[in-house]
């Protein structure tokens, strides 16, 4: 027993030493910048005044300012709406297309690659495509609307439509990712499981809802989390299509942090925004994982 314990200890030590270099690199690459971000958020760092870099006289000032900053609070609400709709729509459309492509007809097999195109385009190209579509002067869609006698407002400058316009563009760009992940998950479902359900009299809808989707629950969870994290990082579409406007209708938290840091040099304040954003992302991911029981022992 003692010998076994000693062996186990030696084994743990060996593994620790093997992992140490990788952990050290990981710490430098990820934890150090994160720590610096948190430390900076406790200072009023402003690039126009270098003396503010290590000023810790009021370490919680930035966080107190955030609580009363209407633009920040509005940006959280805009972020919540953007994330809810983009993740929801991308999951629904992605699952729908994946189920369709899983039918494995030759036509759909050929179409698979076409559906992936939006995802592989550089974000700047996607933004340009949608900018053209949303600009009444040059948009083929608006020419069509005009020919049909429809008076459609300029979507990206209308406060009621600007956020839906961003959601539509973001959904178009990223639903292929969820589609691809769900399709990969669907192709791991054992055929005998589906046969058994059919023998028991389940129709297609019941097979999908009661067999296929529960079986790929883990995949759906990962896809949803990926998209949620990415939705919080939404930037190019907002930067190029609306600049956060009109007013602050499409100004998400990430964009507000960018403005504070890069337009006004308030790095301390911007770091505080980013820390709140990171904390919120981690909390949301944790809640989602707990709610769905993903990763728990079956």
């Amino acid at each position: 027993m003692t010998r076994q314990a000693s062996l186990a200890r030696q084994r743990r030590a060996f593994l620790t030493w093997c992992l140490a270099p990788a952990l050290a690199v990981l710490a430098v690459v990820t934890l150090a910048p994160m720590t610096y971000l948190v430390v900076t958020s406790l200072t009023p760092l402003n690039l126009t005044n270098p003396m503010t870099a290590w000023n810790f006289h009021q370490p919680l000032l930035n966080y107190r300012l955030l609580l009363s900053d209407q633009r920040f609070l509005n940006s959280l609400w805009v972020q919540a709406k953007l994330s809810f709709w983009t993740v929801g729509l991308q999951m629904l459309i992605g699952i729908g297309f994946a189920l369709m492509l899983n039918l494995r007809t030759s036509l759909l097999q050929a179409l698979r690659t076409v559906f992936l195109v939006p995802m592989v385009l550089p974000p700047i190209v996607v933004a340009i495509i949608w900018k053209v579509l949303y600009t009444p002067d040059i948009s083929p869609a608006y020419w069509l609307f005009k020919a049909m006698g429809l008076n459609v407002p300029a979507l990206i400058t209308d406060p009621n439509w600007a956020l839906p316009a961003i959601i539509a563009a973001d959904t178009w760009e990223w639903f292929p990712l969820t589609m691809l992940m769900v399709l990969a998950g669907l192709q791991t479902v054992p055929e005998e499981l589906l046969d058994a359900a059919r023998v028991d009299g389940a129709n297609s809808w019941q097979v999908t809802v009661s067999v296929l989707l529960p079986y790929i629950r883990g995949t759906l969870m990962v896809a949803g989390l990926f998209r949620l994290v990415d939705s919080i990082k939404a930037f190019p579409l907002i930067y190029l299509l609306t600049d956060g406007g009109p007013g602050s209708v499409t100004e998400v938290t990430n964009y507000y942090a960018f403005e504070q840091a890069f337009n006004f040099s308030y790095l301390g304040f911007s770091s505080a925004i980013t820390v709140v954003l990171v904390a919120a992302s981690l909390a949301m991911s944790w809640v989602l994982v707990r709610m769905t029981g993903w990763g728990a022992a079956e």
Binding site: P44, N46, L47, T48, N49, T52, L65, D69, Q70, R71, Y134, T135, P136, D137, P153, A154, I156, T157, D158, P159, L241, T242, D243, G244, G245, P246, G247, S248, V249, E259, F262, N263, F264, S265, Y266, F269
Partner: protein
Amino acid sequence: MAIIRMSRRSVVFTGAGAALTLRAPAVLGQAKSPYAGTTIRGAAFSLPFHQYLKDYFPEFEAATGIHVEFDVQAFPVYNQRMDLELSTGGSSYDVAVLTFTYQGRWLGAGWISPLDEFLSNPNATPADWEPGDFVGQTSMRDAKGHTYGFGIEAGAVILWAARGDLLDKAGVELPKTLADLPKVCEAIHDKDNVAAWTGDNLHHWNWPPYLMDMGGNFFKDPPRNVTPTLDTPAAVQSAQLYTDLLAKFAPQGVLSYTFDQAMESQLSGRANMRNQAVTWAIPLIKNPASTVKNTVRFAPFPSGSNGWFPGVAINGFGIPAGSKNKGAAWEFIKWALSKEMLAKLVKDKGYPSICRRSVIQGEPFKETLTLNGQDVGALYLQALERASDAGYMKYRTVPVFPMVGDKVNRAMEAIASKQLDAAAALKQAEIQAADDIKKAGYSIDL
């Protein structure tokens, strides 16, 4: 055909001279400049001055032996990158465009090198270069009188109509007062499928002439007191007028228009009137793609109840404090903004935004800017001098202007898109601006 007879001796001398000229421009340059062999790096945003000037870089390089390289970016990207670059005190750039939006901030932070040492040294700056020839604020000075840069481009706000013929048909003229402006728009709107008005999304530049015409200002007493004054009755009234023009009389989607898009809406004949810097009016006549060449009309920016305050913005060349080649950089600036070079830009390229009085008052400039029979050069100089004499552009020289400008942009969009009324939007802008100014370490009266 003329036959040129040359003696054997002259052939030999000419050949030798040609060989020297071809083989050794750098050597000659070295004789002329102590900075020969230096490479200077410049940073600029994409603007006509740079486009035109770069064609002459080889001349400068041949004359001085200084090699010039420039990085050019879009305006917003340039401001962001340069802001970061200057804040590090880096030596990446020797010459930079001091943009009108950020120059107050950059000068205030000590990120730009003063030029006084060069200007007071007759070896570095000959007397005939005449720094005093730059009109008013086009030589960029701080409150203590130190000079940091010289204008490469002055934007002086005027009013113009792309389709003057539609004004004639409606029996109206370009308005002389702000009170008449909406009336004229009403009279010509949607005539011949042309929107009466157009504009771009740089509201913190376009709106202040309305604000000041009606008796308002950005700050209480800039640059001494930067307490924002964005929610005054004059501000509310002028914002209402300004946003009404955009909401009622401009093409659909105008709130997202950039400079170019606004210009394009006029070039293609889809929109009629606009107020902006004169630079944006010239292409309506000079651009081959323009459909409105013969119908463009110009006028001074309208006056208001408080007087006449056309906006004037200067972008200029300066030397970053971290530059390691300040002497060579000054040689370049001196050359680029010499009377001779600016006169050449007017003559060869038709460049309209000159900052030197002697060039503006010269015949070639007048010829270039006499457009459709109107002396636009006079309108330009009139606005430049008005801003210099009255000193009302000081609000742009304060370091917190970019932050407050952002609040104004958002407020104007909120009003024009009917999210908030003018009073509420400007109250919100006032509160947010005050918070940001305090964050920057300024004490204000609020």
